[in-house]
């Protein structure tokens, strides 16, 4: 049982929920950038939530299937088509053997998640099928999919194509997108004016935005509190003695353009990090197109944890809805 790639789209990769546990060795967690969307897509076709599917960025692939399958597309509004007939997003539909699954132009969001009944069954690497192209790890031969690839699918009994998730249980960023930030270890390196300016300024997603990190531009350069740089930190005030980076941490090389580290990020380095995007908002970043206006909003730990609880509650509502 397999699918065949006719056209890979722009940057389409196999992703599951990732491989946590190796970040201290420099191997990122990986996995879907919008984990909620991948979980829901899998639920819609009767897969375990962490089954591997396809993450398509901006542009959908063209695929054919060896046998009848159930498919669901969630996340970005990238309308799926079966033999040219448009299907609903966030809803399971059938693709029969020999039919072609393709996609219309992207309407909103950035990444669509394509779940297929049975899930993608490539060999796991370090416990995950997620593709980490920089390390040639996981996925299909450690890379994004290409035309002509024949990708194995798991065997499963197909459920009825009757499941759908209502609009109130879907999640896409607003305009401007609001990203909540918990100030962190090196927050004190910024002057009070720079601390205030970071949250007051209007930012926009830059063109350099991918699975490793999302860059933002448009705000004022950040001013640093003057200090004598410690040994090993280099001369630039945005440099520190090398430290650990976390998923979601925000570094600002040269104090100019903030970069939020995402699923395939490096695990450490010599840039100060002013804080981190709260975990509840990381899925939203995966749905931001270049040029999208963004506001950062300061929160404390209590609000960050409350937001996390709200995300969990929404996932529980989807589970309950889909039974």
């Amino acid at each position: 049982m397999s699918l065949k790639v006719i056209n890979p789209g722009l940057s389409t990769s196999i992703q599951d929920l990732g491989r946590p546990g190796y970040f201290h060795l420099g191997i990122p967690m990986g996995g879907a950038m919008d984990r909620f969307a991948l979980r829901v897509a899998n639920m819609l076709v009767g897969n375990p939530e962490g089954a591997a599917g396809l993450e398509a960025v901006f542009m959908g692939p063209t695929l054919t299937f060896e046998k009848d399958v159930l498919v669901a597309v969630t996340g970005a509004d990238l309308p799926p088509k079966v033999d040219g007939v448009v299907q609903d997003g966030w809803t399971a539909f059938e693709v029969k053997a020999g039919q072609t699954l393709s996609f219309d132009f992207l309407k909103s969001g950035a990444r669509a998640y394509i779940a297929i009944s049975g899930g993608i069954d490539t060999p796991p690497a370090l416990g995950s099928r997620s593709t980490y192209p920089i390390g040639a790890l996981g996925g299909f031969e450690g890379r994004n999919i290409q035309a002509g690839d024949v990708i194995p699918l798991g065997e499963t009994d197909m459920i009825e194509p009757e499941l759908s998730v209502p609009a109130k249980l879907r999640r896409l960023p607003g305009k401007p997108a609001e990203l909540r930030v918990l100030p962190g270890l090196y927050w004190h390196r910024l002057t009070p004016a720079a601390q205030e300016g970071f949250f007051a300024d209007d930012w926009a997603v830059a063109l350099e935005a991918d699975r490793m990190g999302y860059r933002f531009k448009g705000g004022k350069p950040l001013e640093f509190v003057a200090r004598e740089q410690p040994f090993g930190a280099g001369a630039d005030p945005s440099n520190i003695v090398d430290g650990c980076y976390s998923y979601g941490s925000i570094q600002v090389p040269g104090g100019l353009e903030p970069i939020v580290l995402h699923r395939d990020a490096v695990s450490g380095g010599g840039y100060f990090t002013l804080g981190a995007i709260i975990s509840a908002d990381m899925d939203l970043i995966g749905q931001l197109q270049p040029h999208t206006p963004v506001k950062f909003r300061k929160v404390d730990m209590a609000e960050a944890l409350a937001a996390r609880a709200t995300r969990k509650k929404m996932l529980a509502e989807v589970r309950a809805h889909l039974g």
């Binding site: 960025v57 542009m59 132009f105 197109q289």
Partner: protein, 78 residues
């Protein structure tokens, strides 16, 4: 009249590099598969190709413009 639509969001360019001639000028004949422009996104340049043949009418997006997916970039006369 056919429009060439952008397949992806990003920044649109009507020439291969600054100072180079534009890919197409009004009146130019366009064959299916001809490059109409470039879109920069995710550290890569994607070639926008004509899906039909015809005569080039003009660009509908400016060089260096921020564009979204599905936005018209150029017009062709069949």
């Amino acid at each position: 009249m056919a429009q060439v639509l952008s397949p992806v969001p990003g920044t649109f360019y009507t020439q291969a590099a600054p100072g180079e001639p534009v890919f197409k000028k009004p009146g130019d004949l366009v064959a299916t598969g001809d490059i109409i422009g470039l879109i920069e996104v995710m550290k890569t340049f994607i070639e926008v190709k004509a899906e039909t043949s015809g005569t080039f009418k003009g660009y509908m997006a400016e060089d260096g413009a921020a564009i979204s997916a599905g936005e018209p970039l150029a017009e062709l006369e069949a």
